[in-house]
């Protein structure tokens, strides 16, 4: 019978943060020395074998590998489209809406690092998706939050507003894909374990 683990003494974050967080699994990851070749291949990057999150997802290696390659292209492909920091902003806004403190920390930090706008990004975490920064920032946050709703509230008005803020359709699709992807990631990180304060 699968052992589901609790962490009574865990140092938990108390709010959204851009600080680096750890993550502990409730269900058992594959032990590092027990990873099969197929599971290692599914990690895509060998360094990910240190992560209990990825070793837990390695229980379904085909799904993990496809998920990872989708992720890397949505956020890393620099052939046109939306500047990378704004894809990270979409990911952070989606995570802020759904309530994934771990995902928001990683992608708020990435948005800050790529843009230098640490204070604006922090306001998103502190004030939530109702924050007003500037029209383009707000249009991306509002579109991401609308897409994170169930049922999705994203509509043609969001598209028009993103266009008016200077996004072409390739950039708009990047924003949609970035926000949509975090509806995937948020649900895994929120439901298979929890964040911890490290350092």
């Amino acid at each position: 019978m699968t052992e589901i683990r609790d962490y009574p003494a865990l140092r938990r974050p108390d709010r959204f943060t851009q600080e680096g967080l750890g993550w502990v699994p409730w269900a058992p990851p594959v032990p590092e020395d027990a990873l099969t070749d197929v599971q290692r291949h599914a990690l895509v990057e060998a360094s990910r074998s240190a992560s209990p999150y990825f070793r837990l997802l390695a229980r379904d290696p085909e799904a993990l590998r496809a998920r990872t390659l989708t992720d890397l292209d949505i956020f890393g492909n620099e052939d046109g489209g939306l500047p990378r920091w704004e894809r990270e902003l979409a990911a952070a806004a989606s995570s802020r809406t759904t309530g994934c403190v771990f995902c928001a920390s990683v992608h708020a930090r990435a948005a800050s690092r790529l843009s230098g706008r640490t204070d604006d990004v922090q306001r998103l975490l502190d004030e939530g998706v109702g924050v007003r920064v500037d029209e383009r920032f707000d249009a991306i946050v509002d579109a991401s939050a609308a897409l994170a709703a169930t049922p999705a509230a994203f509509d043609a008005e969001h598209v028009e507003r993103l266009r008016a803020a200077g996004l072409d359709d390739a950039a708009i699709v990047d924003a949609i894909a970035g926000a949509a992807f975090f509806n995937w990631a948020n649900r895994l990180m929120l439901s298979l374990g929890e964040p911890e304060v490290v350092g």
Partner: protein
């Protein structure tokens, strides 16, 4: 399954269209969104989570994402996939359970003390249709939580799946299936919204655009 790309099929993106070209500028994302569909809905080795159970979960999740009982193209698609694998009574029970479970998400309580004031109340699903086997009921109840109030997940949530007979590998596959669909259904929804806001709007004058969004 005859569709080369399920997202294009659901979003009704025609080969050579503007959205087709935009999607193909992210070739790995396009390819591996499809590979994710195949890994989770048509796996070579389904393991403990059977194909029929995967289709039941997918149909439930897709219907739960709809705004009302008018079926989206995505919900109709996943209901058809289920109908190919399951008898009509189970299809109806899954569909009715999703219609009964509909709510506005995301809601739920935060684990983080400083966020307690942002808690939003919402329903928990209890699925009691006799035609739905107990193990599948637990999977659908978990899917409801993941779709609508994932921040309510706790270690006990996974313990309920273990108690219903699910092993760790199947718990990961079930979680991936629901979470992937939360992505796929939103990407389809977003692409359809872009298609419905004609690109010709982008060539209108700035004054017209400002009028359109005022």
């Amino acid at each position: 399954m005859s569709h080369d790309d399920v997202i294009d099929h659901l979003a009704e993106i025609e080969p050579g269209s503007a959205l087709d070209r935009i999607r193909r500028a992210r070739p790995d994302a396009r390819e591996h969104a499809q590979q994710s569909f195949l890994a989770l809905l048509e796996p070579a080795e389904p393991g403990q989570l059977t194909l029929a159970e995967r289709y039941a979960v997918a149909a439930y999740v897709a219907v739960l994402h709809d705004a009302d009982e008018d079926r989206s193209r995505s919900a109709a698609f996943y209901l058809e996939l289920l109908a190919d694998e399951a008898d009509a009574a189970l299809v109806a029970a899954v569909r009715d359970a999703a219609d009964a479970g509909r709510a506005h998400g995301p809601y739920g309580d935060y684990r983080e003390p400083a966020l307690a004031g942002e808690a939003v109340a919402g329903p928990e699903a209890r699925i009691d249709a006799p035609v739905v086997p107990e193990r599948l009921r637990a999977a659908l109840e978990h899917a409801h939580l993941l779709v609508l109030h994932p921040r309510d997940a706790r270690a006990e949530t996974l313990r309920a799946l273990v108690d219903a007979g699910w092993g760790a590998d199947a718990i990961v596959s079930l979680s991936q299936l629901v979470a992937f669909l939360a992505f796929q259904l939103r990407l389809v929804h977003g692409l359809r919204a872009v298609a419905a806001a004609p690109a010709s709007a982008a060539s209108r004058s700035d004054a017209d655009l400002e009028g359109a969004v005022a």
